[in-house]
Symmetry: D2
Subunit: 378 residues, 4 copies
C-alpha cells in the first residue's frame, strides 16, 4: 500500500529523553519497513516546559510542541498518546488520554504503585482504547520464536524456568540517587526485574505465587553524581525470587542492577520434558534450542541465528545474518501498536499484562518482609 | 541544531531493491540520531520504469519518481546521487553524476571490471565531488575500535592476518543463476570476498601482492529458481588466497558463498607482537581483544561488548548492552557521507579505496590462472 | 624423589563401581605426575562379595580382595580407606576406619542423614585421622584460581552469588528408581545440589540461612529400567533456593537432575564491587574474569584458558592449551589426600566441610515444608 | 579379562622429557580403563646417560634403565619401542627397532627430512612390524565422530576445508633458539602445521598438491633464554597454504607458532553440500555440527558435548559431561597401539601416514621458494 493512500495516525509524545527519542525514531522508521494500513505522523511533543519541548520537537521532527501534557492529551488532532514521562506521571497522563478516547502507549513500569497500575488498567479497559506497554524485549523475533516453540509443545511439557536480568549501571558505590532510587517504584526488581518477569510469563504463563528477597548492597549513595553528600538508599540493588507458575512449575529469577560486568544479561533457560531453550539479550540474534529427538550422539543446543523465517525479521532484511539491533525492537513494538490501532484490535503486552507483572514485583517485595529463613545447622 | 535550521540535502536514489530500501531508511533515520548540519530529503527515486519507480517512491517516502536514471542525474534539485542499481550501471550513473557535480554514493562492488572501476575513480577525482562506497561493515563501531587499537600500537607490530567471508546463499546445488553468476563482476570472491579484503586493508594496510585460487563447486546451475534447464557456471563458488601487505606481513583470506551453515561469517583475526584482535560479523556487537601485558595467569581474549564509548554507538543509545543491527551500520555510513558533504570533506571508504579492493580481487583472479602448484610426493 | 625411596602408602578401597574405578586410576596415576613423598599401593579391594571383589581387584590392579569391608577396615596393612560404597554404608565404614586409626577418603554425599553425617564428622575428629570428601570439582585449577582472586580482593567485596548444577540423567519420565530416589539421602538437591553448595561456600564463605523449595516433576517412575510397573517418587527432581552468606550477601542456587539438554552445568557467577567471575564445568578449562579496572572501552569478561600458571595444571603438562579432564580432577584430589597423609596435615574439603554442605541441603529441605508463599494479586 | 590373565607387553621407552612422561603415564593408566588382551609393563627406559635414565626410570616407574638406546632396541625382553627422543634420532632408533622385529611407536614429526621419513616408512613395512606415530589429536572422540559423519555422507559431499594450528610459544621476540629452530625439521609448519595437515587428511583425504608461503617474523632470536647474544633464525614462524585434495576440493591452512593469544587453536571447518562441521582443540570436548535437513527456521550449528556414545569416551566415564583431557588422548592412542600389537593388526596413523604428512610439509616449503606472486594494480 502506498504511503499516500494510508490513513494518517497522529502521534502525541510526552517526554523527550532516551525513550522519547527512541519512540520518535521508531514511528518515523516503521513505514519504510512494515506494510501497515496507517501512516504515523509526528504531530505533537510535550516536555516539561515550552522551551525544551520546542527544541526536542525540532530535533525529533514533530510538527508542534507544548510544555503541558494536558494540552496534548486534550488535543483533538492526536490519535495515539505515547508516554515516556517520569513514572509518577504515567497514571494521570494515561488515564486522561484513555478518557479522551485515545490509544495509549506507555513505557514500563506501568506505574509506581500497584494500586495506581490497577487504576490505569481499569481506565483503558473502561474506555475501550488500544493500549500497549513497552516491554520491548518481547518483540525480539527470537523471543517470539521461543514462545512459539514452547506453545507448540516442541520441548514437551515445561518443567522449569530460570531467569535473570543483570546490568551494572548501579554497580559503582558512586552511582548516585535518581528517580530509580525513589522508594515509590524504584529499585532493581521494579526497574529491570520486571523485564525478566514479563519474559517468564511470556514463556511459561501466569505466576501465581512467589517467595523472594531483596537486598541493598550500598546503604548510602551520593545525592547526585560526584557529590560528597550521601543519602540513605531505600530500594533494592538486587533480588532473588522463587516463582510458582499456574501450570505448577517451579522457577526462579534474579534482578540485579549492581551486576559488575553485565550490561544486558536478560537471560533465561526454559526446560521441558523433551527439550530446552536458552536465550540471552547479550546475543539477541541467537536462540539456543535443544531437542531430545535429535539423533543419538548428535544432541546438543543448536545456535539458531535470526533470519527471514523468524517473523518479522524479514521486514528489516530479506537475508539471514544481518542482525537486528535494540532500536529495531522498538520499531517492531510500534508496528504492533499501529496494527492494533488500525484494526481496532488487541496489542500485546497491554496494560493488563503490565499490571500482572507489577503485581508480581509487589508480591516479591511483600514476601521479602515475611520470609521464613531456615537457619543452617552448624 | 534544530532540523528547521539545517541545510536541506536532496537525495536522488537509483534502484529500489533490498539496498535501495536500506538507503532510504538510513537517510530517513539519520537526523533523529546524529546531530548533522544538513538534513537529507528524499527527493527523487529512479527505478527501471515509471510504474515501479512511482510505487517504490510512495512506499519509501520519496517526493518524486522517474523511470530514467539519466533524468535523475541531470536534475538540478539533486545534491547526492545514491546508486543501488545493478552493478553494470554503476559506471555510467556515477560518471554522469560526478560530471554533473553531484556527490556520489555507490554500492559495492564499484564496478564489473577493474578498468571500469578505474574510470569511476578518476571521474570523481576529476570532478572533485564527495564520493563513498558502501562497504558498510567497516562502519561498525567495534570494527572501528579494532582499527584504532591496531593503529595505536596496542597489539604491538602486526604480524599476521587471517580472514574469511563465508555465507550460504549459493550453497544449494539448486540455487539458480542471477546477476551474481555473471562472468562480468560475479562470483563469490568479487561479491563477498571484497568485504573481507576491504577489512584486511582497513586493519593492516595496502595489499601489494597475492597468490590465490578460485573454485567452482557446482559446474551447472538452474537458469532460474526451480527450472529444469541448467547452464554452465563461469564464476567461482569459493576462493582461498595468500596476501602480502605493504608492511611485509603474510596473511590469507577465504571467500565462500557456498559455505553451508554460515550466514555472515565475515571474520578475522589480526595478530600482533603484543596482542591480537578477533572479530566475526556473526557477533557484530562484540570484539575479542588479547593483550600480552595482562597480569600473569590472567591473560585471555576479553569479550568487549559495544557501548557508548565505542563511537558512534552513543548516537543510538546512551547505555551499553543495547545492540546495534545491520541497518544501523547503514545509518552510520550515511551519516559519514552527509558530514563529508556538509563540510566538503572526505568520506571513507571512497572510490579510490574501492578501486584498490577491486584490484586485489582482480589480482587473485589472475593468479588463479597461473599458479605453480607443487605436487606432494607419494 | 625416586619412587623407590618413597614411603609406601597402602590403599584399601571399598566399592568398585564408577567411582571405585576412578579412585583406583587416580591412585595409580598420581605418582607419575606429582612429586609426592609417599607412593600409594593398591593393596586391598572390598566389594559386595568375594567373586566380584576378586574380579575387580584383578581389573583395577589391587593385590588382594575381600567380600567384607569389615576385614578391610581392620587390616593392619591398610593406611588409607577409600569409600565408594553405597551412601548408606558411608557411616559404618568411615567410623570403623577412623576408630582403627586410618585416614578416610569418602565419596560425597557424606551420609544419608544429617545426624549420620555429624557422627562421621565427630568420629574422624576424635580419632585425629586425615579425612577428605570427594567434592572433586573444587580441585579444578580454574576453580582454585577463582577462589584465590576472590580472596585476594581482586573483584572487590563480594556482593552476590548465583549458581546452578543441572544435569539431565533423570530428565526422561522413563528414568527408573535407583539409590538416587531413595528418600534417605536421595533427590537432585542432595545428589548434585551439594556440588553447587560446596562451590558457593568455597567462593563466598559459610551459608547461614536459606529459603528454598523442592519440586518433583515425575510423581511416578518405573521400578527399574524398562519396567511397566511404577512406584511413587518421594524425592525432588529439582530445587531452587535463596542463600544468605555469613558476610551478609544474598544469593541463589538451582539443582536440577531433569534439566533436559544439560550434562554438567555446574556453573556460577560471583559478583563483586570491582569485578566478577563466571564459570561452568561445561567448559572446565576456562574461567571468565571481569575487572572494573580495565581501560575504558576495553572492559569485558576475559576468557582465561588453563595453563601451567594455574597450579597444579603444570603437573599434567608444561604448556598451556592442553586441557585437563574430569579424571585429572580426581588425581589432584588424591594428590591432596596423600600430601596431607604424608605430612600429617589437613586435607580439604574434609568431613566438617561436607557436614556443613549437608546441613545446607537439610535446611533447604526443611524450608521447603514451611515456606510463606506470597500470592500474586490478580 | 583380568590383568593376571593378560599377556604382558614389555615397553621400552627412549626419552624422558614431556612426551616421555606422557607415554609412561598412558601405558600405566591404560589397563585400568580399557579392556585389552595385553598388559603393558614399563620395562626399560633409555635416556641420554645412565644417571638421568636411572632417575627418570625411578620417577616414571620403569624396572630398568640405560644410557644407550642401542641396548634398549637390542634387548630381547622389549616388545614395543616408544620413541620420544630428539627428532634427529627418530630414524636410527626406529629403523633399528624395526629390524629387531619390535613394534615401533614414534612421536611426530616422523623425521627431520623427507628422505629420512621415507626410509623409516620403508623399514617398518619391510620388517612387518606394528607402527604408530603420535598425532594424538586424531584420537579425540569428537574428531573421530567428525570423520565418521563426513564418511557417512551426513554433510553431503565435502566442498571445502579451512584449518589452522596456532599457538603462541614463539610469539615473544625473546623466545630463544632450540631444537625447534633447527633448519633440519624445525619451524612452525613442521612442528604444528603437521597437526592440522594430518587433520585435513583425516577429514577430507589425500592432499595432492599445495601452494604456500612461509614467513619469519623474528629474523634473530637469543641463542638461549635470556641471552644477549642472538643468532639468525632460518625457519618459519608462520605459514599459509592452499591445498588441493584428491577429491578435487580446494582448502587452506595456517600454521603459526607466534600467534599471540592462542594456546591451542588447532581448528577446522569442513564444509559439505548438506552440512558442515567445526572444531577447535580449544574446546576439545565439543563438536559443532550443522545439518541442512533440520526443520526450517531451526537450522544452526549444534554444540555436541562429548559423552559415552562417542567411542571411546565411555572407557573414561559412563556419563556425559565429564570432560576428557589431553593426557586422555595419549591413553587412547596407546590403547590403539596395544590393540594392534595384540591382534597383529594395523595401527593408525602409521609411518606411511606420517610420511604423507611430512611430504605435504615439504611440498609447502618447496612451493614457498617458487611462488608466482601476482602484483596488485595501483
Amino acid at each position: 500500500m502506498n504511503v499516500t493512500e494510508k490513513k494518517p495516525v497522529r502521534i502525541g509524545l510526552v517526554g523527550a529523553g532516551f525513550m522519547g527519542k527512541c519512540h520518535a525514531n521508531a514511528f518515523r522508521a516503521v513505514n519504510g519497513l512494515f506494510d501497515l494500513p496507517v501512516a504515523p505522523q509526528l504531530e505533537l511533543l510535550a516536555d516539561m516546559d515550552e522551551t525544551s519541548a520546542a527544541s526536542a520537537a525540532s530535533t525529533l521532527g514533530f510538527r508542534r510542541s507544548t510544555g503541558d501534557w494536558r494540552m496534548l492529551v486534550a488535543d483533538p488532532d492526536i490519535d495515539i498518546v505515547a508516554i515516556t514521562a517520569p513514572n509518577k506521571l504515567h497514571e494521570p497522563i494515561a488515564v486522561a488520554a484513555a478518557q479522551a478516547g485515545k490509544a495509549v502507549y506507555c513505557e514500563k513500569p506501568l506505574s509506581t504503585t500497584l494500586a495506581s497500575a490497577a487504576r490505569m488498567r481499569d481506565a483503558v479497559a473502561q474506555a475501550g482504547v488500544v493500549n500497549l506497554v513497552g516491554f520491548n524485549f518481547l518483540c525480539n523475533p527470537m523471543v517470539r520464536m521461543a514462545r512459539e516453540l514452547v506453545q507448540a509443545g516442541e520441548i514437551g511439557e515445561v518443567t522449569s524456568f530460570r531467569g535473570r536480568h543483570a546490568e551494572n549501571y548501579m554497580a559503582r558505590a558512586e552511582a548516585p540517587h535518581s528517580f530509580r532510587t525513589d522508594p515509590e517504584g524504584g529499585g532493581a526488581l521494579a526497574d529491570i526485574g520486571s523485564h525478566i518477569l514479563s519474559m517468564a510469563r511470556y514463556m511459561v504463563g501466569p505466576i501465581v505465587s512467589v517467595c523472594g528477597s531483596t537486598s541493598t548492597i550500598y546503604p548510602e549513595r551520593p545525592v547526585f553524581e560526584g557529590s560528597d553528600k550521601t543519602a540513605a538508599v531505600r530500594v533494592d540493588d538486587h533480588a532473588h525470587a522463587l516463582l510458582w507458575f499456574q501450570g505448577g512449575q517451579l522457577g526462579s529469577v534474579e534482578a540485579n542492577w549492581a551486576a559488575t560486568g553485565r550490561t544486558m544479561d536478560l537471560s533465561f533457560e526454559v526446560t521441558g520434558t523433551q527439550g530446552a531453550i536458552s536465550f540471552s539479550q547479550e546475543r539477541m540474534n541467537e536462540l539456543l534450542v535443544y531437542r531430545s529427538d535429535a539423533a543419538s550422539g548428535q544432541q546438543g543446543f543448536t545456535r539458531i541465528e535470526a533470519g527471514p523465517t523468524h517473523v518479522p525479521y524479514d521486514r528489516f532484511c530479506p537475508a539471514p545474518g544481518h542482525h537486528l539491533g535494540f532500536n529495531d525492537l522498538k520499531i517492531i513494538e510500534v508496528a504492533g501498536l499501529l496494527r492494533a490501532y488500525a484494526t481496532d484490535g488487541h496489542a500485546f503486552p497491554d496494560f493488563a499484562e503490565a499490571y500482572a507483572v507489577q503485581a508480581t514485583v509487589a508480591a516479591i517485595h511483600a514476601s521479602s518482609q515475611q520470609l521464613n529463613r531456615m537457619v543452617v545447622a552448624s
